[in-house]
Structures are given as C-alpha cells and as structure tokens.
C-alpha cells in the first residue's frame, strides 16, 4: 500500500503564502519597471505596495490551487465533476488547503473568523486599557487611531467570515443537497480572505491609518501608506462576499430536496437567502468608494477634492449605501439561528413561520433605503434628513415581527437551558437593547446629540453582539456534535455564558451612558471629563471579562473536538434533516441517506408528524471519470 508522505508543501496555505511573496515582489518590480519607462525614479512606496498587493493576492490564489480547474478548462482539459476525496489526508493538511467540500470550507471560514475575532478583540483590549484614565499612558495618538480603526474593520471581517461559516456549512445540509451549486467557486471565495486579512493587518507595519474603519476623505487621502492596505484588503473580502452569496442564492433556489417548497425550508435558509441578496448587490458600492479614494491618492483624480471640483460628501453616500445594508448582512443569519434553535429547545413550533420568513426579506428591502441616517450631520441637503428618518424607523416593523414571534414561540413552551439555548436567549435580550437604542439615533434631532459619540458605539456593539456574536456561539455549540462527532463540555459552555452575558450588560450600558453625557468616539483621550474615568474603568474590565470568556470558549472547542465525549446522533432531538445523518457528516452528505419532505419543519407537539422521511437511496449508475 502506497503511503502518501505529507510535507509542509502539501499544505495549500504554505504554497499560497510562498506564491504571495513572489507575486508581491513581482508586482513591485513591475511597478518600478513602468516608472523607469515613464522616466520617473524607480521606487515609490505607495503604488509599489498597491500593485504588489494586487498581484500577490492573485498569486496566492493561484498558488493554493483555487484556480487550477479554471486554468485547465481554459486549456481545454476536462476535470472530474466530483473531486476525489482522500480519506488518508490528515486534518491539518485538509483544513489548510483548497477544498471544494462545503463542510470543510464552512469550518475554514469559522476558524479563520474566530482568529480574526481574537485579533480584533485584542486590539480593543489594548486601546481600552489606554482609555481607563485621562492622559496618555502608553499609546501614542497615531497608534491608538490605528488600533481603533483596525479593531473596527477586522471585527467586520470576522463577522462576515462567521456568517460565511454558518451559511456555507448549514445551507446544503438543511435543504438536502450534497454540496453547494458551485463548489470550486466556494473554495475560491474562501481563500480570498487570507490575502485580504494579511493586507489589512500589514497596515500596522506600514504606518497605520487614522480614519476609523470608514476611511472618509479628505483625511484618508492624506493618511499614511497603511490606508492603502486597508482599502485593498476590504476590496478583496468584498469580492469574497459577492461570490459566496451568489453560491448561496443558487443553491437555496435550485438544490432543495423533493417536497421542500420555499415555505418548508428551515428558517435559517430564508435568512441566508436574504443576507445573500444584500451581499450580492450592495458590496460593489464600498469597493467603488474605496477605489475612488485609491485613485485620488495614486493618480491625483479629484473625486473628493473640492479644489478639483470634487465633493467630499459624495464618498459618504457611496460608502454608506453598502455599509448600512451590510449591518443587516451581519445580523440576519444570526437572527435566523435564533429562529432555528428556539423551537428545538422549547419543543414548540416557530410562531408565525411565514411571517418570520417574510420579515427577513422585509428587513433586507427596507435596509437599502436608510443609508443616509449615518449622515444626518454630514452637511448633505438638509431636507433629505426627513425621508431617511421615516425609512430608518420603518425597519423596526419587520424586526418587531421577529421579536414578537420569538416571544410567542417561547410562551407556553417547555424550556430547557443547555448552552445553545442560553446563548439564544442572551442574543434576543442583547439584540433588543441594540435595537431599542436605534430610534434615538434615527430621529434626526436626537441624533444631532448622539452622532459620533459612545452612544452610537454602545448601540452597534449591542446589535452586533446580539445579532451575530451570541447567535454564532449558539450555532457553534449547537452543531458542534454534528460537525465533530463529539460533545462540547457543557459546564465550560455555561461558564462562558455566565461570564460573557453580564459583562456585556456592563459594557453596553456603560458605553451608552458616557456617550449621552459627552464622550465622543474615536478619541484617544477625553480631557475635561474626569467624572467618566470610573465608567471607563468598568467598561474596560467588562471587555477583559468578555475576552476571558472567549478564551474559555476556544479552549472548550479545541479540547472537545479531540477529547470530548462521543456524541449521540441527535442529542437535541431536532426534526431538522441534518440530524438524521451520522456525526461527523459523511463527505457527500445525503447521497447515501436522501430524504423527502413529508411535513412542516417545526411541528413539535403534533403527534406522529415528521418533517422529513429518509428514503431508500436510488442506485447511481457508475460514473466514468
């Protein structure tokens, strides 16, 4: 029997990184050549790094094998429809290499997301420590501004990766598909995130940037080189978003099991669909706005330079046209997790399933019409503020439908409180805090006071924690036995929750409190506001407690994946089809265990009802490769 030897170079990531370095150097060299031919001195750092970054990222993708099949097709070669899966491949090679299996990709997204989450969280703890007291203790203003900006954008990236993890892993399993519609595209879309993250974090070493994650010109035009790495990094992970959402939409619409009408899909698939519709159509705008600033920096084009006839506020319109819908991308799948898990833990149907499904589309739609509520003080046309206020408050209606449905689902249920359920309940309450702090921001007059203060910071941290972080953790705990075949440690899970939940309350209310009383955002120091030092101390301590609880979470996952108790097939007694599969899920999902839909997804309490019935698989004709 031939033993395949796995070396460092078997790992796709290693090949990709080597290719990336070569590509960056080639890009820089190319840039120098062009400059010499133009009669300019050979070296200019900024365009060199930008071109190097672009070519390096493409080289990474080629090196890791994300484009190999496409190159083959370009040459007229055939490739197998289903790539051969090598059961001998050790885990560390499999997960660090290019794969087309949506489950592997889902885990890759999830782990990468958790790493970025830890990095962004660490940045926050660093600058939060500086904020405990008035005066500069150990951070210079420039370094503070860079950490603060990176915290924002790396967190956003971590959230998108987490959304990608859940959507990619779950959608095919929930609808009975063997994989996504476009597996190669799926793998490609994941690996874009690695060069993207590298470029983003490289900004730390290239002078940083001081604009916050929004990158408003003119400040971003005069910011150091790190600003370009930020623009390039975001541009890339925007591409990943677009390609991933394309895949989800086609998969959900075309690959459902027999009998699964749209209104018999698990509710999570509805939210993944709504999320993907937003990602697919809006992401282009942030790329465009950043590209315009890049061109202003590199080529002197005056889009946002009043001296050249440009308009500063134009950037904000283009930027927020994506970035507002983006926040619904962040939270919709998390809200889908809440809707998906509640019935399982209260043993009762999801109340008003159709309305909940429609509300996701409703949020997605209305979300496109509210962007200028980020610009009430920007100096845009004054009259515009009123229609945007109306549309902004309107989002509360479909969101309310979800909240009331959850409460009605819980009402008269039979609640049990395993870790996933704790995180679901925590998510609902925290997202409620975030959501209720929305209207004061949405009515213009009150926004004039709170805009650019810590009240806003409190608002979006609550919506992000409630809409993404808590549900993501609930999802990880919930599906952990199906993914790994082992059970996580329940006591550590509860410890994680009972540290994180109260700490988050302290952080949230602390932020909103100081914000209302005069604490601006994005400031390294708050001279003159001595009375705020105690609240700031409490907020920072809360941050550290949250960080510690996340470490417990990571430890629990890592330890239990290897040494946890072997899990039953369906520990939660869920009706959902993926729990009819063995754990871990076999490579081709339902190919040997297909099912047909025979009932409604959430008919808990209806005796003798079933959602799916596993059928005898049809013998497949032998395929010739």
């Amino acid at each position: 029997m031939r033993q395949t030897k796995y070396t460092l170079f078997s790992v796709g990531l290693v090949r990709g990184l080597v290719a990336m370095v070569i590509g960056m150097l080639a890009g820089m060299g190319l840039l120098s050549l062009i400059r010499l031919l133009m009669g300019l001195p050979a070296w200019n750092a900024e365009p060199a790094w930008v071109l190097g970054g672009v070519i390096g990222s493409l080289a990474f993708l080629a090196g890791i094998g994300a484009m190999t099949d496409w190159f083959k097709w370009a040459k007229g070669e055939q490739t197998p429809e289903h790539p051969a899966h090598d059961p001998e491949q050790p885990g560390w090679v499999k997960y660090l290499s290019f794969s087309t299996d949506h489950k592997v990709i889902g885990v890759q997204y999830g782990v990468t997301g958790m790493i970025m989450f830890a990095i962004a969280g660490s940045f926050a703890l660093i600058f939060r420590t500086e904020l405990i007291q008035i005066g500069l203790q150990f951070l210079s203003p420039d370094l503070y501004n860079t950490y603060m900006s990176l915290h924002g954008i790396v967190m956003i990236m971590a959230i998108l990766l987490g959304v990608g993890a859940m959507s990619n892993y779950l959608v095919p399993l929930l609808i009975g598909a063997s994989d996504m519609a476009f597996p190669r595209l799926n793998g490609f879309a994941f690996w874009i995130n690695v060069p993207s993250g590298i470029l983003l974090l490289s900004s730390l070493f290239l002078g940083g940037f001081d604009t916050g994650w929004v990158g408003y010109p003119p400040l971003s035009v005069r910011a150091p080189l790190g600003m370009q790495m930020f623009f390039l990094g975001v541009y890339l992970f925007g591409l990943s978003s677009i390609l991933g959402s394309l895949n989800i939409i086609v998969t959900a619409l075309r690959m459902r099991a027999p009998g699964m009408t749209l209104f018999r899909m698990p509710i999570f698939v509805w939210t993944a669909l709504a999320t993907s519709i937003i990602s697919l159509t809006a992401t282009q705008l942030i790329a465009l706005s950043f590209q315009m600033v890049m061109f202003q920096r590199l080529l002197g084009m005056g889009f946002f330079d009043p001296a050249k006839g440009g308009d500063v506020i134009l950037f904000q319109h283009l930027f927020w046209f994506y970035s507002h819908p983006a926040v619904y991308v962040f939270i919709l799948t998390g809200l889908g997790v809440i809707s998906e898990l509640l019935p399982v833990f209260v043993r009762k149907p999801l109340f008003g399933y159709k309305w909940v499904a429609m509300s996701s589309l409703g949020i997605a739609l209305v979300g496109f019409f509210v962007w200028a509520h980020h610009m009430f003080t920007s100096g845009m046309q004054e009259f515009l503020r009123v229609p945007f206020m109306y549309s902004t408050l309107l989002v509360a209606v479909p969101t309310g439908v979800k909240f009331f449905s959850w409460v009605a689902t819980i009402w008269r249920g039979k609640l049990s409180f395993e870790t996933p359920m704790l995180f679901v309940l925590g998510a609902i309450i925290i997202f409620l805090i975030g959501g209720l702090s929305g209207p004061p921001n949405g009515t213009v007059a009150t926004d004039l006071h709170v805009h650019d203060t810590y009240f806003i910071v409190g608002h979006f941290h609550a919506t992000m924690f409630g809409g993404f972080v808590f549900p993501f953790m609930a999802a990880v705990y919930f599906w952990f036995p199906k993914v790994t075949g082992r059970m996580y440690n329940e006591r550590l899970g509860k410890l994680h929750f009972f540290l994180m939940f109260p700490a988050f309350f302290v952080q949230s209310f602390g932020q909103m409190f100081v914000g209302l009383l005069g604490m601006r955002r994005r400031i390294v120091d708050y001279p003159g506001l001595e009375f705020m030092q105690t609240p700031h101390l409490l907020i920072t301590i809360a941050g550290f407690v949250i960080g510690f609880s996340v470490l417990i979470f990571f430890f629990n996952l890592a330890f239990s994946a290897r040494r946890g108790v072997v899990a039953e097939q369906n520990p939660w007694h869920s009706r959902s089809p993926e729990w009819g599969l063995p754990s871990p899920v076999p490579v081709d999902n339902y190919r040997e265990h297909p099912f047909e839909v025979v009932g409604e997804p959430y008919d808990y309490g209806l005796a003798g009802s079933a959602f799916v019935r596993m059928v005898q698989p049809v013998a497949e004709p032998a395929t010739v490769d």
Binding site: P141, V346, R347, Y353, V401, L432, D452
Partner: protein, 470 residues
C-alpha cells in the same frame, strides 16, 4: 396480542410463547393490520404486543405513533426473524424515552434496511376542557403582565433625561430633550414587554425533569401578526412625525442673529466676529441671543459639538455649513471636534463661554484693545489666533512641524536634499505655499489654505516675532 399479516408468524410466536411460559401467557388476539391492532388495543387490553417487524403490510411507524398517543401502559416488542444482529427490540412506554424510538429504529436500520423518518413524539392527547385551558392562559397572561409592569416601572425610574443627559444650555436642547424623553419611555416599556415575558417564561415554562414530550402545538395566529405589524407601523410613523417637528424647532432662524465664522483646522478652532471685527480662540456668546455659526473646514472634515447645546454639524472642506444656537444658560462649556480628523483629534477642543450681554460687550472691547500695536507682539498674537502653535512650538519641542525657536537665519535641509537659509522670503513662502519646500524629517501636513485669510501685513508681523525667538 400479535400483529402480523403472515399467519405463520403469529402461529409460530404463539407456540413459542406457550411452550416457554405455559399458563403465564395467553395470546388474546392475532390481527393483521394497524387499524385492527389499534381497535384491538381498546377491546382486548393486552399486556404485551408483538409486532412483526419485517411485515411490509404493517406500517410499524404508524402503529408506534398512534400507540404513543394513547394512554395505554403496555409493552411492545418489534420482532424480526431475519438473520443477523438482534432479533427483537422491546419497547416499554414507561421506561424508554419516546424520542429514543427513532434512535433504535435506526439501529435496526443500520443492519441493512432503509432509514426511517424522525418522528415527533407529540404530547398525549389529553382532552382538557376548554375552560381549563382558558383559565390557564389567563393566569399565565396575568403573571407575565405583572412582570412587565414592574420592569416598566423600574425602567421609567432609571431612564430619565435629567440623569442621563448633560445640562440643558440652549433653546434647541428643549425639543431634543423632550424627544429623548419620549424615546426613553417607549424603550422602558418595550424592553419590559419582551424581557419581562421571557423572564416569566424562563421561570414558569421550564421543562420538568425527565419530561421528554413536546409542548402545545401552536403554529401562529394571523390576527396577532397583523396587530403587531400595524401597531408598530403606526408608532414609528408617529415618532417620525414628532421627530420632524423637533428638528424644525431646532432650525428656526432668528431674524437678527449674532454672526460668528468658525474655522476648523487640524487641530484648532478659530472664531471670527465679522460685525465686531475681532478674532478669538474662545467662543464667547451672549445668553439668550441666537448665534448663526458659519462653519468652514480648512483641511479635513471636522464637527462642531457642545454637548450642553445638543446640536452638531460637520465642517466640510469646500463648503460653508450653518448651525444656529441660542444659548440659554450662563456658564462655561467645552467645544469638542466630533469627527475624527487625525492625530490630535481628541485634543481639538476650545472653551465656550456664555455671558450676559453686558459681559459680552465688555469682552468685545477688550479683544479690540488687545490687538497689540507692536509688530512683534502682534505676530505672536496672530500665531495664537490662527492655530499655528498646534503644530509649531516656540520652545524647540518637535511637534508636527519644525519649531520656531532659532528658525530665523537657520540653514534648513529639505526632503530633496537641497538647502536654504530661513530668511524673510523663505518664511513668507512657507506660509503662502506650504507644500513647496518640505523640511527633512517632517510631513507635508500644513494645510494649503491656512494663510488664505492672512494678509501680507499679518505675515510680516509673524516674521518679526519669529526673528525674536533665538
């Protein structure tokens, strides 16, 4: 009782049981279908039912599902006479969890035959009287209402504008704070409504230990859905309307306001009173008189905010923006830049003093008399007023730009390697065209239009002052 459509199965089992257990076993019936079996359960009341697992005509899942619905306490055995693996499975409704049925059906299945469906083991249909159901609902409903009421009360005690907002020092703050108050009250109620109900549920709808049955099968209620869509819709429309009204109130122009031109630059504020002819680095305002601030940014976006005045407006390069404030309370406040504008953004603050009209007029006079007559002193005065000291120190400290100490007559080396003596022409050029020569080791950060408002005389005064810094 034996359930099988194959007569031989029944006969064989009967003989087996009778030979093993003799008098202790009495086969009370042999039926051939699920319907007959269910009917027979009612009449025969067997203690044990043996079901032929391999019989295609007997739908065992259906039998189990319907069997579970009933209240019968008896044992069921699914018996397979096929080769391999365990041949019989005992299902005892008292000791085995209903949900474990699917698991051990799968055990069977993994022996080679098809998987079966995941069945919901519903709650046994116990016909509670409608009256009892309603009474239950009412009690729970009332209980939850109590929780909601108490939490709302606590919320209203805590969420108050007089604790949570800075003091009110402008007329514009009044409609804003009233709107905040409205928001806070609604937030208190809605938070209590949702969290109170959840809290009630967490306490009173817990699953009892060992209970593996499902809860009541309620899928929705269209009237409720419509209600909790329409009521919030009306509420948000009302709030938007009230919000527009509040905004309009903050924008009401006074026919004869005080004019102040506000210039924001990295990282200082400058206030010019064109009608009074003075420039200041502090914003001094007479109480109860509307000031119209004409906001201009020189370099990047800044934002004008005094928390006690509430209203805020960005300063946008290339455009003039208006903000109207009517200070209503004498006192000292702090103007803070509220849009990230670079390194020293946190420190871009300026004092704001609201005084009586007499005190204000007095201050104007003092300012007019403060402009020194001596060119050197005047030069220092302009450096203060125009914010130059945010980047250029007078004592040798290296800030963003070169220190003015010892500047005059010094040989400066530039980025491109060239040098020059810092004479009058050099200093003049450095102010009028800051980007022309960049001193080695410093960034090209001086705004190009800082000096647009400076006259040649003012620049000359500055040069005279710098000459004295040795």
């Amino acid at each position: 009782m034996i359930v099988s459509s194959h007569p031989l199965f029944g006969k064989g089992i009967k003989r087996l049981l009778e030979s093993r257990f003799g008098e202790g076993v009495n086969v009370v019936g042999m039926v051939a279908s699920v319907e007959e079996a269910i009917a027979a359960l009612m009449t025969l009341h067997p203690d044990l039912v043996v079901v032929d697992y391999d019989d295609g005509a007997v739908n065992r899942e259906e039998f189990l599902a319907r069997f579970v619905e009933s209240e019968h306490r008896l044992r069921v055995v699914l018996l397979s006479l096929k080769e391999g693996g365990s041949n019989a499975i005992v299902y005892d409704r008292r000791t085995m969890a209903a949900s474990q049925v699917e698991d051990w059906l799968k055990e069977w299945a993994d022996q080679g035959s098809a998987l079966s469906s995941i069945i919901s083991m519903g709650k046994p249909i116990v016909q509670r009287s409608k009256f009892l159901q309603m009474k239950n609902n009412l009690i729970h409903g009332f209980g939850a209402l109590v929780f909601v009421f108490i939490m709302t009360a606590i919320g209203l005690l805590v969420l108050r504008t007089d604790i949570l907002l800075p003091e009110q020092a402008s007329l514009q703050a009044v409609p804003i704070d009233n709107l905040f108050g409205l928001h806070f009250r609604l937030i208190a109620f809605l938070f209590a409504l949702i969290v109170g109900t959840i809290l009630y549920s967490v306490i009173f709808f817990r699953r009892k230990k060992g209970d593996i049955t499902d809860a009541v099968h309620i899928t929705g209620n269209t009237n409720l859905e419509i209600a909790w869509t329409v009521v919030p819709l009306i509420t948000v429309l009302a709030f938007s309307f009230i919000g527009s009204d509040a905004l309009a109130k903050t924008l009401k122009p006074d026919p004869k306001p005080l004019e102040v031109k506000v210039t924001g630059q990295q990282w200082a504020w400058r206030f010019e009173y064109p009608d009074q002819g003075i420039i200041s680095n502090e914003l001094v305002l007479p109480v109860n008189k509307q000031v119209v601030l004409r906001l201009q940014a020189v370099d990047v976006i800044h934002s004008f905010w005094v928390p006690e005045f509430r209203v805020k407006q960005d300063l946008v390069p290339g455009q003039v923006k208006i903000l109207r404030i009517t200070p209503s309370k004498v006192g000292s406040y702090q103007l803070m830049c509220a849009e990230i504008c670079g390194q020293q953004h946190a420190y871009m603050v300026a004092p704001v003093k609201v005084e009586t009209q007499d005190e204000f007029d007095n201050w104007i006079n003092v300012q007019l008399n403060t402009i020194p007559t001596d060119p050197v002193a005047r030069g220092q005065f302009w450096l203060d007023r125009y914010g130059c000291k945010a980047c250029h120190s007078l004592d040798g400290t290296k800030l963003v730009g070169p220190s003015f100490l010892g500047l005059y007559g010094r040989q400066e080396t530039f980025e491109d390697g060239s040098t020059a003596i810092a004479d009058e022409a050099y200093i003049y050029e450095s102010i009028r065209e800051p980007g022309k020569k960049i001193v080695l080791g410093y960034p090209n950060a001086m705004p190009a239009n800082v000096a647009q408002e400076m006259t040649d005389e003012q620049i000359q005064d500055i040069i005279e002052f710098i000459k004295t810094l040795k």
